[in-house]
């Protein structure tokens, strides 16, 4: 331990002593660097305890915040917009089409009105993103995927589905048993409103038990395949079977 020169009171500014005052003295810079790194490490250790409190506080604040600024803070609650392309065309009732093809007996094409005319289902679950944000109790309404599969007549050799999107880039996949679950749907409404463009409207996939990247936005194609073909993010290292809490190295509470 070196004695600290400033322990003694230094009332008058140093009278320009002959030895250059620059570069002399206590190595506080080094301590600042190490101290900041130490604080960061302490943050890592205490984050699991801090985060719950932050989320609760900011989540509550965001419901009463007319400026919307809390939404910009980490864990401020709400959805985050992710798109892999530069821009996504808007589609509505006049030009939206959903095709079902591949290993099926009767390839189908649906308009938005045709999808709306089919019997709808409603599922209310948490939405969990693989990057960490979670939106509690979010209602989704739409056509159960299994119903569209039955209407097209899945051939026996089909074991998986590839989903494509009208943003021109995004793809997703499910196995046939996953796709036949009753909490997997072609969603038309979210939070009791028609799906908006920024949420993947007019039609998106909704896979309740999996991380939200499986719920492809701007859905335009359902193709039955022999084997699973990994989707966009899965080619970049994310898990194909993306069960919430049991994949991608995460241990979130399951959404289903």
């Amino acid at each position: 331990m070196s004695p600290t020169p400033a322990a003694e009171p230094a009332p008058q500014p140093p009278p320009d002593p002959d030895p250059d005052p620059d570069g002399q003295g206590t190595p506080i810079g080094r301590r600042l660097v190490l101290g900041t790194v130490g604080l960061g490490a302490a943050g890592l250790v205490t984050a699991p305890y801090l985060q719950g409190g932050f989320e609760a506080f900011l989540g509550a604040a965001s419901t009463k915040d007319p400026t919307g600024l809390t939404g910009l803070l980490p864990n401020g609650g709400g959805f985050r917009y992710y798109s892999v392309t530069a821009s996504v065309p808007e589609r509505g009732p006049e030009n939206y089409r959903l095709t079902v093809d591949g290993l099926v007996d009767r390839p189908m094409t649906y308009t938005l009105d045709a999808l709306r005319a089919l019997p709808q289902t409603r599922v209310v679950r948490d939405v969990q993103c693989v990057t960490g944000w979670r939106v509690p109790g979010t209602p989704f309404e739409g056509v159960p995927l299994t119903r569209l599969l039955d209407a097209a007549g899945v051939r026996p050799e089909a074991r998986a589905i590839r989903f494509s999107c009208f943003d021109g880039a995004y793809t997703e996949s499910l196995t046939l048993p996953q796709a036949r679950r009753d909490d997997v749907m072609v969603a038309l409404r979210m939070q009791d409103k028609p799906l908006s463009h920024s949420h993947g409207g007019p039609v998106r996939l909704y896979v309740a038990p999996m991380y939200f990247y499986k719920s492809a936005k701007w859905l335009s194609g359902i193709t039955l395949t022999r084997d699973v073909e990994p989707g966009y993010w899965e080619d970049l290292g994310y898990d194909v079977d993306a069960w919430v809490g049991r994949s991608n190295g995460r241990d979130d509470a399951p959404t289903v």
Binding site: D22, Q24, P27, L34, Q51, A86, G249
Partner: protein
């Protein structure tokens, strides 16, 4: 406060402040920081994310600009002028305490003595170096998912997000200070500053002399690694 360029008679008298290598280090670090913070904003702020999209490209640019951020610093260690300034930034003398006390109390009357760098600049440099290391560390935990098992990644995201917000505020203050002082900016742009400015803002700076590391004083040889990380 008088405007830094007012002593017109002395305007011609320029004092060397930063070497070419140092100006290059500052410029490339600033460019990489801008790239890193800009892509971060486009990934993170909903309005910008909706405008820009291209998530995978942004992530790639963000990660690489962040990792490359330390390269100008490391290359710069080859420059003795840079090492000397790192040492000046790292060491705090009694006059720095006076400066900090006056600044914290918003005391405009007491003189704020400073060497080549004032105590605020020293605190900024040390904190920022540590913060960059924390960002790099937590960023790597988030990116190379196999590096640590499970839970730590959520914690890393938490630290990365909040520290990013803090750094945004601190960087904005740094840029604001620079915008308010044209002569300080001229120093980093051209390498030299006005003598009157130097005597007013950095009265203890012995600008005629080489710095301690450049002198290679044997008395300091035991503390050889100049400055800190």
């Amino acid at each position: 406060m008088p405007r830094p360029s007012e002593p017109a008679r002395r305007r011609t008298e320029r004092i060397h402040r930063f070497s070419g290598a140092e100006r290059w280090i500052h410029r490339s670090t600033a460019a990489l920081t801008g790239l890193c913070a800009g892509t971060a904003a486009c990934l993170y702020l909903p309005a910008l994310a909706e405008l820009v999209g291209r998530r995978h490209l942004l992530v790639t640019v963000h990660v690489w600009s962040g990792l490359l951020l330390v390269v100008p610093f490391l290359l710069g260690l080859a420059s003795s002028a840079f090492r000397a300034d790192l040492r000046r930034l790292g060491r705090f003398g009694p006059h720095d305490r006076v400066w900090l006390r006056a600044a914290l109390r918003r005391d405009r009357v007491t003189r704020r003595p400073a060497g080549k760098f004032n105590a605020g600049q020293k605190v900024y440099a040390g904190w920022l170096a540590g913060a960059v290391l924390v960002m790099a560390g937590t960023g790597m935990l988030m990116w190379w998912t196999g590096l640590v098992p499970l839970v730590r990644r959520t914690a890393a995201t938490f630290v990365h997000d909040w520290l990013a917000l803090t750094m945004g505020v601190v960087l904005a203050a740094h840029i604001g200070k620079a915008l308010a002082d044209p002569e300080a900016r001229r120093g980093l742009r051209t390498g030299s500053v006005d003598r009157g400015w130097a005597e007013r803002e950095h009265p203890l700076w012995r600008h005629g002399r080489p710095g301690p590391a450049e002198r290679g004083e044997p008395a300091d040889a035991d503390r050889a690694p100049a400055g800190s990380a």
